[in-house]
Symmetry: none
Subunit: 242 residues, 4 copies
């Protein structure tokens, strides 16, 4: 059942090829430099063939976003397998995101571009659903970890606060500071040179602010991070310590 016919495999491979090329174009030449013509020329198939895979440009872009989010969520889901206290697992998610950003800079760029444009609405229904699904997995990983912290008694969130608020803050801070961090004017004005390390400290401060124990002055999260990289992301370690 799982075996695909030769034909089906060809189709799947070509779809990947298209997305790879599209992602590179998006990264290299920006949103306006990405055209169906150009994709077709680079994959050395015809435009018609591209349209057999994606009903329109937005559909293709949505597929790109899904692929991107899948890469990240896979790392997130590995992160939460880390054997440690909930806040350590939260730290692992942070590390996962950092690995994602370092290892797949083109994916990150994709995501940023696509967030701003309203793309998904024109995509095929199946892609819209896939998008929802992967977003759901991402939320589940993060919120699950937060709830773990509450259940373990490491963290309280009296109403009207919500567990998801913590997640929202981390998400916004991570996403936002990555965009701001790419605007040279802003960084020059601020005098920040290593945005990645700053982000790490900012995230820990944020979690401290919610009083998620053990707080960062009570626990050596740098060591935790080393353990995470060794135990969960050994294969990716090289990428991140460069």
């Amino acid at each position: 059942m799982a075996t695909l016919s030769r034909k089906q495999r060809e189709i799947r491979d070509r779809e990947r090829l298209i997305l790879d090329v599209a992602r590179r174009l998006l990264l290299d030449k920006g949103y306006l430099g990405l055209s169906m013509d150009r994709i077709a020329a680079e994959i050395e198939y015809s435009k018609g063939t591209v349209y057999q895979h994606f009903r329109c440009k937005e559909d293709l872009l949505t597929a790109l976003a899904i692929q991107t989010k899948l890469k990240r969520v896979e790392l997130f889901e590995r992160a939460v397998t880390f054997d440690g206290r909930p806040r350590e697992r939260m730290t692992a998610i942070g590390a996962a995101d950092e690995i994602f950003a370092r290892r797949y800079p083109d994916y990150i760029a994709t995501e940023e571009v696509l967030y701003v444009q309203s793309i998904a609405c024109k995509a095929s229904e199946s892609n819209q659903e896939a998008m929802q699904a992967v977003d759901g997995r991402c939320v589940a990983a993060v919120c699950g970890t937060i709830k773990g912290g509450i259940e373990a008694g490491d963290l309280e969130i009296p109403p009207p606060r919500q567990a998801s608020e913590i997640a929202f803050g981390i998400w916004g801070m991570t996403f936002g500071s990555r965009i701001v961090g790419k605007t040279p004017t802003c960084m020059d004005q601020l005098g920040i040179t290593d945005a990645t390390t700053s982000l790490r400290r900012m995230q820990q401060a944020y979690l401290d602010g919610w009083n998620w124990r053990p707080l960062s002055h009570e626990w050596d999260y740098d060591s935790t991070r080393d353990r995470i990289l060794g135990e969960v992301f050994a294969d990716e370690r090289a990428a991140i310590t460069v």
Copy 2:
């Protein structure tokens, strides 16, 4: 002297008109929906006239961004006049940003779109300088307040941490959560309905995390907020309590 001739007034008014129309188009139809043709059609002047005001599309967009940032920085600079402890003034900046976002939703959208694109480089020199200047004022307001906290002994930031890191975090979190907050998928998944109120709490948690005293459980920042709205932003209060 300070009085402009009728002609000059007409020109200045038309420049405003162009920017207003451009902003609306940007908001309604996104970056790609904004074209010089469309602007000309909407203002019912000729294309050539638009080009007499802005040397190219990027120049116009940069003018738009400057206008946006000016609106915000004016509110920020009012915020930091608040008579209170530094962290209260920081809260005032948060309130200013919230007012900005509520009162000028179209301006916020402008900013988001323009952050991602690299626009400024093609703008006229005078506009590039104006952009730098307004960014500088914004950074000055925020970082000045943080330094005020340090000087008052309410906050320590042992190296390698920096004052500007606090600013970077607040900025990223605010900017990022506003974009994420507009992506319905994400918000549905998170189950957050009132992103603005959440952001307020997230910001306070973040400042608590840096141990900026008085912490939010030691001080009633909601009352502070009321005072801010009453004392500094009385004229804008209506906008924000809607």
Copy 3:
């Protein structure tokens, strides 16, 4: 094999159509009157279709110039097959050029316009190469004939003179007098009515000046010309004697 599919034939025919229309526009309305829009309108295909044939305006114009030069060089290469003394073959080249100018007045005009503008640099590489190639053939035909004269002992060119100088002079005189000859003011002032016949005599005088034997008073080049028209350009004779 050599047969083209119907589609391919259609494309080739349309390319010709485009060039024909472009040439006519260039002739009728000058360089500034030739626009891609106008071409598209006249051939009753869309602009996009024109751009599928030529990547930009300069590429089209270069193709036009190549076509023109090819027409000429074909005549030149026929001319140098004339069975006679080298200077007679040189005369044959003159006749070929005259035939070219009479038979394809629009081609001549094309060439004149295109000489002045710097067009080729923006053309596609293949067209740039084609241009070089056809220029090379033209030079080869003329210089080969001159060298033939030297080898036959009919002509000496002591240094620092060069064989190519003779060619340069003939070329310049022919090209230049054709342009001047089209400026009515100049011709009125000079009182010359039949520029073509004058050019013929001027060329012979020039070759006499280099002492290329037999000189024009030693040999009846008018008869030679008749023989050339009969033997090499019989098919074109009608065009030239009109």
Copy 4:
């Protein structure tokens, strides 16, 4: 009577200024880079003012061409005052043209561009007449010298040849080889590096071809040229011997 009012002088000066700027633009940026806007910006007068001097762009260009031709004809008229045999005076005209080309490369460029475009027809009547007049003076200088040669018995031109044919040939050769000489492709193919010196030899060969005595092997025209430069164009000598 010859004295102009201040106003009139201002107008005349501004006209010169406009033409100078226009010529420079034409040289630097080509025909398409020359716009009324740009001229107005550079002279720091308004567009309306430019239009007060020239009724349309073509009128301005025609004025430019007249100015160019005037520069040349002045040199020609000085050349024919040279005290020597007619063919020496012809050589002097050649030297005058060379001086013109070397000293005023921008004027030459102007002329080449304007020859090809059909400009004059849209010019004001007075400019059209001025154009005729200066062309007439140029023809008079050259043809007068040729007739001088005939009258002196140095040259015969049995019908159907005409005196003006000699002039036509020299003109065409000079003009044409200057354009061809600027097309790098052609010169590379021909292997000619010093087009100016080549042109000088080509012109002498041409006059020899008409059997205009003394022939170039009977007379040292290089010495004649030195004398011309010393006696008639002493002030310009520096320009040409660089």
